[in-house]
């Protein structure tokens, strides 16, 4: 059921929304089992490839538990029709929150380029070698941290 502008009436909206395409199925009804399957796959792969004294089943369970919330969330993002979410505004791209995010993302891109460039130069000159996983986590932390902080600053300024 939709309004004349194609969006669901507020009363028909739910906290976690429904599937895209006009389905009545709650998005979480698919996102949770699908995310669980993906998390188990990640756990099995991690257990099979883990090269350490830790028992493989412990590694598998650990990876499954840690990745489960993120994978459920990821599947939900792809499946949910945002017009069925309670409280969701109709035009987020025209709201100031969208402008704050765009501005924060632009700044974060520059920050990431600058910091990874300086870091690469430093490690090249000093001949210090670090693990690739650590380096990638560092890039991720810089990008997400910069974007988050810049968004909060923009929101505070209004």
């Amino acid at each position: 059921m939709t309004d004349t502008d194609g969006t669901a009436p507020e009363l028909d909206r739910t906290r976690w929304g429904r599937l895209r395409g006009g389905s009545r199925t709650p998005a979480m009804a698919i996102a949770i089992p699908a995310g669980l399957v993906l998390a188990v796959v990640v756990g099995v792969i991690a257990a099979a490839m883990w090269d350490a004294p830790t028992p493989p089943f412990v590694v598998g369970i650990g990876f499954t538990v840690v990745t489960l919330p993120a994978l459920v969330g990821l599947v939900w993002v792809f499946l949910v029709d945002r017009d069925t979410l309670r409280g969701a505004i109709d035009r987020p791209e025209e709201s100031i929150e969208g402008a704050w995010y765009d501005k924060a993302a632009q700044g974060a891109f520059s920050d990431t380029l600058l910091i990874t460039g300086l870091g690469t130069t430093f490690f090249a000159i000093t001949n210090i070698r670090i693990d690739m996983l650590i380096a990638l986590i560092g890039v991720l932390v810089v990008a997400m941290g910069s974007c988050g902080i810049r968004y909060l600053i923009a929101r505070r300024r209004g």
Binding site: I89, P92, E94, I96, E97, A99, G158
Partner: protein, 65 residues
């Protein structure tokens, strides 16, 4: 950019939330536009003008004019 959105809204006796709902944007967006801290996109400016049955240039005025 200066604007008369606050006056137009108050003339109709609408709250900021009511106007936000009419335009499909967040209440914070209305607050920021009224304070002159956020310039709306052209489509949003057109919807504002249409909602108040007026023209864009009668709602928004560039700084320094």
């Amino acid at each position: 950019m200066q604007n008369s959105l606050c006056a137009l809204r108050q003339d109709r006796g609408w709250s900021q939330q009511r106007l936000a709902d009419e335009l499909g944007v967040s209440r914070q967006t209305i607050i920021s536009i009224e304070r002159g801290r956020f310039d709306p996109s052209l489509p949003l400016a057109f919807r504002i003008a249409r909602l108040f049955e007026t023209t864009i240039e009668s709602v928004f005025e560039p700084d320094g004019e």
